[in-house]
Symmetry: D2
Subunit: 408 residues, 4 copies
C-alpha cells in the first residue's frame, strides 16, 4: 500500500497549526498515540513526561529505534501559510509567548507516523521496531527525560538509533556524515545585577542595560579573538531583557546565551572566557552584587557511527531516488546522541532536504547552490517553511529505507 500522502499532509498541517512548547506536547502526543494504536503498535504514553513509545515486533531480528521530536519554539510565525500557527503558550519563565513549529519537528513527527504506517503495512521484514516520539528537544532535556524514565529498561535496547532533521536544502537531497555531525550546545542564563533608579539620575544607579550591552559586545571577542579561526564555535545572545519603562533604570538585565562547540577543550575554554567576561563586566560597572550564570541545558555533540552511516548511505544510494551528500559538520545541536549513548548503540542521524527544488533552478555550481541556501529562511526563522508534500514523501521513504537496512 502506498503512503497515503493526503492523510499525512493533513496530519502535518494540523500539527503545524497547533504547535506546543517542550514538555507541553500533550495534544501532539495524543495524536501520535492514537495513530500508532490504529496501526497496531503497542503504545505507551507519558514516557519522560509527554514522550510516546510505539513497539511493533515481528519474530527474530534486530531492534531498530526510529526517533522523532515533537516540540515547537517560542517564535511568532510569519510564513503567511494558510495553516500558520497563531498559538501562544506560557513559557517556563511564566511569560506568554507565541509558538511556532519553526524547526520542522512537525515534519519529523509526521514522517515517523508515515513510516510507522508503511512498515506496519510491509510484511517483508523481521525484527523489532521501537518508535520514539520525544518531547523537548529544543530545551535539550527531552531525550534524557525519556532515558531517566526507563526507556531502555522498559522497551529494550536497540541495535541502532536512526533519525533525521529537515534542512533548507532541496527536497531529494539527503546529508549523511560520519563522525561528529552536530555540535555540542550549552545554554546559559546570565543575570547582571545593577541598581535601579530614576532614568534622569543615572549617577544614583548602576545601569544594567549598559552592563548588558557592554557584555554582548565583549562576548563577540570570544569567537573573533579567543578561539582559532579553524575552530567551529558560535556564541549567540538569543535574548536580552531589561526594564519596563524608558524612564526607570531597572535593577537587572537577563541574557540568554547559546554556545556551540565541536571540541571539548575548546568548549571548556569558551565557557571560561564567557564567565571571565561576565565577572569583569560587574567589576567595570561597580555592580553591587555578583552576576549569576546558570547553565540551563547542555548537550554533547552527535557523533555518528561510521559503520552505521555507511550502511545507511548504501541503502539510500541503492534506492536510487536521492542525491546523497556529506554536509560537513553542522553547528546546530541535537539530543538524539543522548539516546544512542545511553543505549550503547550506534547512531546514524541524517539531514533531510525540505526546500522547494524550483528555487534552485539554474544553480548548478556548489557556489550557486550555497547562495540560494543562504537566502532561504533557515530553521528557527519565523519564515521557515519546508515544502510539505514532497518533503513528507521523501522523509517517510528515508526512514523506511534506513530501517529496512537493519530489518531482514
Amino acid at each position: 500500500m502506498p503512503i497515503e500522502l493526503d492523510a499525512l499532509i493533513a496530519t502535518y498541517e494540523d500539527l503545524h497549526r497547533h504547535p506546543e512548547l517542550g514538555r507541553q506536547e500533550h495534544r501532539t502526543a495524543g495524536i501520535v498515540a492514537e495513530q500508532l494504536r490504529a496501526l497496531g503498535y503497542d503504545v505507551t504514553t507519558g514516557v519522560g513526561g509527554t514522550g510516546v513509545v510505539g513497539v511493533l515486533e515481528r519474530g527474530q531480528g534486530s531492534t531498530v529505534l526510529l526517533r522523532a521530536d515533537m516540540d515547537a519554539l517560542p517564535v511568532l510565525e510569519a510564513t503567511g501559510l494558510p495553516y500558520a500557527s497563531t498559538a501562544t503558550a506560557t513559557s517556563a519563565d511564566g511569560e506568554t509567548v507565541p509558538v511556532m513549529h519553526a524547526c520542522g519537528h512537525d515534519i519529523h513527527t509526521t514522517c515517523l507516523l508515515g513510516a510507522a504506517a508503511a512498515l506496519a503495512d510491509d510484511d517483508g521484514w523481521q525484527g523489532r521496531l521501537l518508535l520514539v516520539f520525544q518531547p523537548d528537544e529544543e530545551g535539550g532535556g527531552g531525550a534524557q527525560a525519556m532515558v531517566d524514565d526507563g526507556l531502555f529498561e522498559r522497551f529494550g535496547t536497540p541495535d541502532v538509533v536512526l533519525g533525521q532533521h529537515v534542512a533548507p536544502v532541496p527536497v531529494g537531497v539527503l546529508g549523511v556524515r560520519s563522525g561528529p555531525a552536530f555540535a555540542a550546545s550549552d545554554s546559559l542564563r546570565i543575570t547582571l545585577h545593577g541598581a535601579g533608579g530614576h532614568g534622569s539620575r543615572p549617577e544614583a544607579t548602576v545601569d544594567p542595560v549598559v552592563m548588558g550591552a557592554s557584555l554582548v559586545q565583549r562576548l563577540q571577542t570570544v569567537v573573533s579573538r579567543d578561539v582559532a579561526a579553524t575552530d567551529t564555535v558560535v556564541v549567540t545572545v538569543g535574548s536580552f531583557h531589561a526594564g519596563v519603562a524608558p524612564n526607570v533604570i531597572p535593577d537587572n538585565a537577563v541574557l540568554g546565551l547559546s554556545i556551540r562547540t565541536t571540541d571539548e577543550r575548546v568548549r571548556a575554554s569558551v565557557l571560561a572566557a564567557v564567565e571571565r567576561m561576565v565577572r569583569a563586566e560587574a567589576l567595570a560597572a561597580g555592580a553591587p552584587k555578583e552576576p549569576e550564570i546558570e547553565v540551563r541545558d547542555s548537550f554533547p555533540p552527535v557523533v555518528n557511527d561510521a559503520a552505521a552511516c555507511e550502511q545507511v548511505r548504501e541503502a539510500f544510494t541503492d534506492a536510487a531516488r536521492w542525491i546523497v551528500v556529506d554536509p560537513g559538520p553542522v553547528t546546530g545541536s541535537e539530543d538524539v546522541g543522548v539516546l544512542a549513548e545511553a543505549a550503547g548503540a550506534p547512531c546514524a542521524y541524517w539531514l533531510l532536504g525540505g526546500a522547494d527544488p524550483a528555487l534552485f533552478e539554474g544553480a548548478t555550481t556548489i557556489e550557486e547552490i550555497r547562495n540560494v541556501v543562504a537566502d532561504l529562511p533557515s530553521n528557527h526563522s519565523p519564515r521557515y517553511a519546508p515544502l510539505a508534500g514532497p518533503t513528507l514523501e521523501s522523509g517517510v521513504a528515508a526512514l523506511v529505507t534506513a530501517a529496512r537496512a537493519w530489518l531482514a
Copy 2:
C-alpha cells in the same frame, strides 16, 4: 483643627498598597473624589480620562490651582514595608507588569487631600481653590489630557499653579528654584529590525541583539562627546527587549529611551544625534529594514516664575518651620508645566524633603549631606520609601502655606 495625621497615614498606606498605572487610576480617583466630596468640594471625575477636579469657592479673590499626580510605575516593590505593593497590571503594550508607587505620587495625592481638608476647615481666606488630581504624569500625557478635556474652560483659569514633588532630601527641607527647574523629557521607542534565525547559524541572520548592544554603547557618546560638559543632558536606555529563547536569534530588538535636556538647542542636537546613531547602526549591521523611532511622549521643561517663586519662598520662610534651599536644576521632568502654560499662569513647583533626618545625623557639610543623599534609594528605585508621617505633615503644610500666600 489640626490635620488628622492618622487618617492621612491610613490613606497614604492604602494608596501605596494599591498603586495604579497611568490612565488606569480608577480606584485612586474614586478615593480622591469621595474624600473631596465629604469635605464639601464640588467634584468632577473623569476629566482627561481618570483625572479629578475639586472646586471650593469663597467670595472674591485669586484662583489658586493646587496640583497632585496620582499614577504609579511598572516597578517591583522591594522596600519590605508592611504596606508594600504586590499589585500587577496590564501595561499599554499588553504585558503584565508589577506596579509600585516608586515616585511618591501617593505622597502628592495624600498631601493634597490633607491640604484640601485643612483649607476647607480654615475660614480665614477668600478666593477660589481649584484642586487638580492628575492622571499619567509618568507617561507625560496626563496634564495635556486634562487641558484637552477643557480643564480651564470648564473650571476657570487660575492665577497661579502650585505643586510639589517629594525628593530624597531630609523632611523639613523645601527646595524652591526660580527659572528652569525641571528638565525637558523625550521618550523614544526604537525598533531595530534584524533578520532572525537559528542561534547556531548567525551568518544566515542579522542579529538585532548585537545591533541593540552596539547602539546602547554608541548612545553613551551623546552625553560624553556630543554635548558640552556644562550642558545638562541625560540619555537613558531604560528598557531593552529582544528574543525569547537562547538558541533563536530574534527578528528585532526594542529599546526604550528617556532623554532629558534643559536647553532647546541642545535638545534638538541630542535628538538628531540619537537618530543618526540609530540609522548608522542599521547600516553597520546590514539590516534588511530601516529602524523605527517613535516619540512616545515629550514634555517641555518646568520653568518656574520668578515672582511666584519669591512669593512662595517668603511664605515658607515666614512660617519658620522649614529650611528653604535652592536645589539647582533637576534632571527629572514633570508635566505640571503643561498646566501652567495652557493656563497662561505663573508656576511655582517645589521639592518636598521626604527622607528620614536621622539618616543625616552627623552630616553637617554640604559634602557630607550629598554623600548621604547619594546612598539613599532615589525616586523610581524599587526601594524608594519616604518617611510617611513627617513627610505628609510637611507636605500638607507647604501646600496650605503656599496657597494662602495668594488667598487673602
Copy 3:
C-alpha cells in the same frame, strides 16, 4: 608712547613660526629675555628650567605678578597662515612630533612683552612689576617647576597674580569670572598589557587593540552614567597607540587620558571609576599582566578671587573699550592657580577675545553667537588662528589696565 603694533606682530609671527614644546622653550625664552633687558627689566632666565622672570621696581607700592605661558603643542598646523609652523620636535616619549602654537601661548607671551614695554614707558605708577614667562603649561608642571625653583623666595611675593587666556570669542570681549573659573585637570597614561603574536592567530595572543577599544567605549560611561548630568566632567582619550604592522598583534596599547572636573568629590569618584574600568578590562581579556596607570600631571582648578575679579572688572569697565562678560565655568584647565596658591595671593585670570568680529556679524542673540563660536576652530585645533593684530592690541591693553588697578 603708543604700543608699536608692527613690532608686536612681528614678534608674534616669529614665535608662531617657531613653536617649542614644554620644557624646550629655549629660543622663545631667549627672545623674551632679550626684549625685557632692552626695556630695562632686571631679567633672570632658567627659572624652573626655561622660565624667565623680569622685574621692574619703582618706589613703594604693591607687587603685581603678570604671567604668560610660552609652550606649544604637538599638533600639525593646518591654518594655512603665511607664518604657519612647520616645526617638529622630539617629545618626552622620544617620538618626533609636529609642533604648533595651537593654544595661543604665543599671543600670551607677545601681549606680556607688549605690556612690559607699555608699563616701562609709563611713569605714572609706583610699585613692583614681576613678569613671569612660564614654561610647560600644557604638561601642567611649568608653574610648579618655577615655584620649586624658588620663584617667590628669589623674586618676592606678589599681592596679586594676573593673567589672561585667548579664547574663540570676538576681539573686544573680555570674560571675567569670580570663583572656580577653570577646571581641575588630570592626565593619565594607561598601558594595557596583552600578549603579541601573529595577526592570523589571535587565539595565541591577548589582543591589546581590542582591549584598548573596549576600554575607550567603557570610559564613555563615566560621563554618561557615573556622574550627575549637572556635574561638569570631561573624560577624553586624546591618544591611542598600539602596533606597527597590520599583521602583527602587538604586546600592548598605550592610551593618553585627560580628565576635567570642577569638584573634588566628583574628581575622586571619576578617577576611581577610570581605574575600576581599566582593571576590569584586563580581567575581561585575560591579560597576562596588570595594566599600568600613571598620573602624568595633575593640576587644581583655577579659583579666581572675588575681590580681585571685582577690581579687574571695574578697571576694564572704566576703560570703556571692552564688552566684559561672565563666561561661566570653563572645562579648560590652567596651572596659573599653582602660582597664586604658592604665593598665597589672590588670582584674577580672564579670557581674552581673539576671534574676528566680522565672523559674528548678524549674530545678535546669545544663541546666534554661540552658534558662531561652535563653528570656529577652538584652542588645540590644527586650524586655531586668532586675529593677530587686534587681539594683541586688546591683550596688551588688558594686562596694562589690570596691572594699573594695583599700581598706584
Copy 4:
C-alpha cells in the same frame, strides 16, 4: 661533506642580529650573494629590488626552484637571546621602528644557504637549481616584484616550486598539506576622519579615538556573526594610532587591518562587511569627511599541488628522520604561491618544526601537544625564538631531500 653546522649557526646569528625590513634587505642580500658565489653559483642581485637569484646547472634534468624570504618585521625583540636584535629602521610611513626577525625568515635564508652548499657539494644529481632569495614577504609584494622584474624570463621556468616555513612545533616534525594550505591575506589601512580640538571641549570636535574604538568593536562581529562558524576567517586590527597628547583631540585615527580568508566568496563578503562598518562609523559620529580605505597588499591562498606534495611526503618519509604530519589549513599567509602561479608550476610548501622538543616532553596525546604549542611564543611574537642548531640541520636536510626528489 657534512653540513658545516657551526658556520650555518654563525650566519643565522648574524642575520638575526641584523634584521632588515622588506625592500631594505641590502645587507642580507649581500651576505647571500657572497656565500652563493663562493659555492660556485651564478648569482644575480637586485632582482625585484633586493632579491637574489643563484643558479647551478648540471646537465639535463628538471629545474627546481627553492625559495627563501629574507625580510624582518617592525617588532621590538624580547627574546633575551645573546644575539637578539637592537636594530631600528625607517618604515614606509616614515616612522622609526624597531626591527626583529620575528617570523623566522633568517632561518629560511640560512637553511637555503646550507642547502645550496650541500647540493653544490653533492655530485649525485642532474638538472638545474634555481635558488630564489625573495624580499618583502611580509608586505606581500616581494614575490610579485621579482616576477615583474622578469624572474622566469631571465632565469627559466621551474618544474616545481619548493619552500618551507618554520613553525612552533617540535624540531623533527614536518607538516605537508595538499590543497589550500595558507590563507589569502588582505591588509587595509583605514583612516577615520574626525575633527580635532581641545580635549576639554569634545562638543566642538568629532572624536576619532572614539570612532576608532567603536569600529574595532564592531569589526569583531564580522567573524562572530557575519560568517559561518565553519568558515576560516580572521580580522585583526594590528595597529591603531591617533593623537599625540592626552589633552588634544586629534583630527583622525589610522587603523591597520589584516584579513585572512580561505574562500573567495567569503573573502568578498568579509571585505564588504568591513567597508560597510567603516562607512557606518563615520555616519554615527557625524564625521566631516568620508573615511579612507586603502588596500595595502593582498595575496592569494597558497594552494599546494597534490602530486608534488605526495612526492615530497614520500621523500621525507623515506629519509626516515622526520615525523611527517598534515597540519591542516593554516590562517597564516604566504606569497610563495605568486611564484608558482606565475611560473605555471606545481607548488609544495611545508612547515618546518623549530621548537625545542624538550618542551614537549611528557606530552603524548594530540591534546597535550596542542596545549604546549598554545603556550609557546608564536611567529610575530617579540619572544619568538626557534631552537637554532637543530632547526637549521632539519631545514637544510628537508630542502635537499625535497629537491633531490626532482633532481635525478
